[in-house]
């Protein structure tokens, strides 16, 4: 490859590298700052002296979290939700994407189903009718309220469907010749070939479930059923310190423990931070794989 070795070009390259490092730092800075606050001592954090390195390093706040049954409980609610919801999403996405990826010649009713699916994507009744439906089904305060309304991730279904469509016809034809039925084709041929797309779809579904807070807020009636994000939202985000007055002294004391709050934030981030690097290399490829090829 011919490289440009003139001085202006190399200066520009160097400038770009510095710029990119700055941008990367900016993307990480809030997280690093929060990590530093979580590991600092309370007074330094309250005074706002912590920048990107802990002052008075200690892991007290993390100890307090592990001893806090409410927090750990909410954490486990989220874990259960991700496992149940993620699995349901995965199974439904695969089971719906496959038939929809067959052409109308192979599957006569395909277009009718497709229109219906698209219809649900474009139109929605709004939160209030959905809220009432969930209420009437008696799902309030159960894990199912968090898992069932979003059970069919339509966008992911379309992504996976497009991916299936782009697999060579010869594969399914070869399967047919060997006497494979639709289930066999799906499970033994299509799924093994779709691992990048499946990883992408799973990543989005898992992250979506872990980060969701609003459904927990409106469907759960007691704090012990709150998923983690809702729990954190109620405790911290609702009432930032400056807006409280001295009548809420006890609440104020809870809130102004910046170190503890920062530690709770870090703990909620940890699963994402752990899972992300592994799945990251799949999803870039996976997103573009779902696009329509001419």
């Amino acid at each position: 490859m011919v490289e440009d070795r003139t001085l202006p070009s190399r200066l520009w390259n160097g400038f770009l590298i510095v710029l990119m490092i700055l941008i990367s730092f900016m993307s990480l800075a809030p997280i690093i700052h929060t990590a530093a606050v979580s590991l600092s001592n309370m007074s330094a954090a309250a005074g706002g002296w912590v920048t990107f390195w802990p002052i008075g390093f200690n892991i007290e706040s993390y100890r307090k979290i592990i001893d806090d049954p409410n927090f750990m409980n909410a954490f486990m609610v989220s874990v259960r939700r991700v496992l149940l919801g993620g699995t349901i999403n995965f199974v439904l996405t695969v089971m719906m994407a496959y038939p929809l990826s067959r052409s109308p010649k192979e599957f006569t009713a395909r277009n009718y189903y497709m229109w219906f699916v698209l219809f649900t994507m474009l139109f929605s009744g709004g939160i209030i009718p959905l809220y009432l439906v969930v209420k009437h089904l008696g799902l309030f305060n159960t894990l199912w309220a968090l898992v069932l309304p979003g059970a069919v991730p339509v966008f992911n279904v379309i992504l996976l469907m497009n991916f299936f469509r782009n697999l060579p016809k010869e594969l399914s034809e070869a399967g047919l010749i060997d006497g494979a039925g639709p289930w066999y084709m799906l499970m033994r041929i299509f799924i093994p070939l779709s691992l990048p797309a499946l990883a992408t779809v799973t990543l989005f579904s898992v992250v979506g479930h872990w980060n969701a807070f609003f459904d927990g807020l409106i469907y759960m009636r007691s704090e012990e059923n709150y998923p983690l994000q809702t729990f954190i939202q109620q405790l911290m985000v609702q009432l930032p310190p400056e807006y409280l007055d001295s009548t809420n002294a006890e609440l104020l004391e809870k809130m102004s423990n910046k170190t503890l709050n920062a530690a709770k934030i870090m703990v909620s981030m940890i699963p994402i931070l752990l899972v992300y690097p592994f799945l990251q290399r799949y999803f870039i490829h996976g997103i573009m794989l779902g696009s329509v090829k001419e």
Binding site: I17, T34, S124, G125, L132, M161, F213, F214, V237, S268
Partner: protein, 294 residues
């Protein structure tokens, strides 16, 4: 077409379809609530008041405010959400070291996967009177600013933080487009003695224009969604004049104050306008960029 396969395809679609019907299709009938003076005790048999909810909507001062805020914040996010990722993608593309590029991308995609509950917690801490930002301002001799209580700052904080969160992820599409530019164009430019800047101006940027146009057109359909999760977690009554948007208003008035009929009416209006915009934007995208989603 193989006859015996048909029923299996139907079977695969069945669970998903049932769930879609229950949670997406049936709630659509709930739009009748918009035309009723809805009372939770009477349910759907509540008194019919026709368009009264809608006329009320047009009379109150609130609607102008929320509508303006929604459009303002959304437009700001769309513009920043295109300019920043494009710039970042073009600059990143200039770099030669593939490993460095991969590393930067990994870091920069991360904020997209964090929830707004978490990020709001981080931001509230950083923007508080004792937070790192105000400390920095003081160090430069300025006066502390209550960012999250200021109607002048709040919309920009929303736009800025949303861009910070998603610019990396948004750049994926542009990076893919850049990778698809024919290298012989660059070689021809080299032969003609073009400098790096000239190559950027005459080859790189023009090649991106179709992608940019496509993505902005598609964002038009989404313009009434100003980002509920983010705003809900960052706002407070002091900044309602500049930060309250349609979705947050519907939540407060509908679910908290239980004015179900009115809130459903607002939601319905939003869906209708949104639908018209989506159809227009997809039509435009199809006509001018041959874009289809299925």
């Amino acid at each position: 077409m193989i006859k015996s396969f048909q029923k299996h395809y139907h079977l695969m679609l069945l669970p998903g379809m049932i769930l879609l019907v229950i949670f997406h299709f049936i709630p659509m009938f709930g739009v009748v609530i918009a035309f009723q003076d809805f009372n939770i005790g009477l349910g759907l048999k509540s008194p019919w008041i026709g368009l009264e909810n809608f006329t009320y909507l047009f009379q109150i001062r609130d609607s102008r405010v929320i509508f303006f805020n929604t459009i303002f914040i959304s437009t700001g996010k769309i513009i920043a959400g295109i300019m920043v990722p494009v710039t970042f993608a073009v600059l990143l593309n200039e770099l030669r070291n593939a490993l460095f590029k991969r590393w930067v991308q990994t870091v920069v995609y991360l904020p997209h996967f964090l929830s707004w509950v978490i990020l709001a917690g981080v931001m509230i801490d950083m923007l508080s009177l004792d937070g790192i930002v105000n400390r920095a301002i003081e160090a430069f001799g300025g006066e502390k600013i209550m960012f999250l209580a200021s109607n002048a700052w709040f919309p920009w904080i929303l736009i800025g933080s949303d861009t910070w969160k998603d610019f990396g992820f948004g750049a994926i599409v542009y990076l893919a487009a850049l990778a698809g530019i024919d290298p012989t164009l660059y070689e021809a430019a080299d032969i003609d003695g073009a400098s790096r800047f000239q190559k950027m101006r005459y080859i790189t940027l023009p090649s991106l224009v179709p992608t940019i146009l496509l993505l902005s057109t598609l964002s038009i359909g989404n313009i009434l969604n100003a980002g509920f999760d983010q705003i809900f977690n960052l706002y407070n009554p002091v900044v309602y004049p500049s930060g309250d948007v349609i979705d947050t208003y519907v939540y407060r008035v509908g679910l908290v104050q239980a004015q179900f009929g009115f809130a459903t009416a607002v939601g319905l209006l939003k869906s209708l306008i949104g639908f018209v915009l989506i159809v227009i934007s997809y039509r435009l995208a199809y006509r001018y960029a041959n874009y289809r989603i299925f």
